[in-house]
């Protein structure tokens, strides 16, 4: 039986500098997941015009128990909200991006979606999502 094997690498660099030029903090995290066979079936990427109602970016093939999610607002005008199971998990101004390992399921696995919602007017977003291994939790998100 054929299987799919997926791995994710994420890295970030964050620093906060005050108005006097003093660096308050700096972090540079990174991680690479183990090559997962179980539960992982799908990498999905693209650019989409997020509408003023929920625009779904996952597919039916995704493992909604854990999706590594990167979304970037590449438009110029308004904030885009990222929602997991209808709950806001990011509000991205133009040029902003976010990353999180997201548990999309509602109560009872395999329900609901990962959506983009541009409340004011449609905005273009880029995204990369990749399945991870089940978290083992089964709670509403």
């Amino acid at each position: 039986m054929a299987t799919q094997t997926l791995s994710v690498t994420a890295s970030g660099s964050f620093s906060l500098v005050d108005s006097e030029g003093v660096t308050v903090f700096s972090f540079s995290p990174s991680f690479t997941t183990a090559a997962e066979v179980t539960d992982s079936t799908h990498i999905h990427t693209g650019e989409i015009l997020a509408g003023t109602s929920a625009t779904t970016i996952n597919t039916a093939h995704n493992n909604k128990d854990l999706i590594y999610t990167f979304v970037k607002n590449v438009d110029t005008d308004y904030v885009v909200t990222v929602q997991a199971d209808g709950d806001d998990i990011a509000d991205l101004a133009p040029g902003h991006c976010f990353f999180s390992p997201v548990h999309v399921d509602g109560a009872g696995d395999a329900s609901n979606n990962l959506d983009l919602d541009a409340a004011t007017a449609a905005q273009k977003c880029q995204y990369l999502i990749c399945d991870g291994k089940d978290t083992g939790i089964n709670t509403d998100d």
Binding site: Q4, T5, L6, S7, V8, T9, A10, S11, G12, S13, F14, S15, L16, V17, D18, S19, V24, F25, F27, P29, F31, T33, A35, I43, T45, L66, Y68, F70, K72, V79, A84, D87, D88, I89, A90, D91, L92, A93, G95, H96, C97, F98, F99, S100, P101, V102, H103, Q126, Y127, L128, C130, G132, T135, G136, I137, T139, D140, D141
Partner: protein, 129 residues
């Protein structure tokens, strides 16, 4: 006294299959923050069965980074109390998340399967950020 800050952000994600198929996406930007007074950073132990507070309620919104420093157990990060069931991320050992939210919810975290030490920063943002 409230100060002005610049939060510099760079994020990258790469997804790879065993056959060599790879997709990557990244971005970098600066967030100019004016006149806010809540900046928190540090490490905190997040027990199972109770909420550890990463950030108290901000006036408008926040930028949040959380990293799971445990070598075995996962960490749940919530917008609001865990009873609100608004999961921002589920971080396995060594994983991190970063997000910006424009709401006044607190941010809390819980260990899964044992107490987890979380590394974090939480920065209040204003409406123009």
């Amino acid at each position: 006294m409230a100060k002005n800050y610049t939060l510099n952000v760079a994020l990258n994600m790469t997804a790879t299959t065993a056959t060599g198929y790879t997709q990557a996406l990244g971005g970098s930007y600066a967030v100019n923050i004016t006149g806010v007074d809540q900046v928190a950073t540090g490490r905190i132990d997040c027990a199972t069965g109770s909420d550890a507070t990463i950030m108290a309620a901000p006036g408008y919104g926040k930028a949040i980074y959380v990293r799971n420093l445990d070598d075995a157990n996962a960490l749940e990060v919530y917008g609001g109390a865990s009873s609100d069931n608004d999961l921002l991320g589920v971080l396995k050992a060594g994983e991190f998340m970063f997000t910006i939210l424009r709401d006044t919810d607190t941010v809390t975290a819980r260990g899964l399967g044992g107490t987890v030490t979380a590394e974090y920063f939480a920065v209040e943002i204003d409406a123009n950020a």
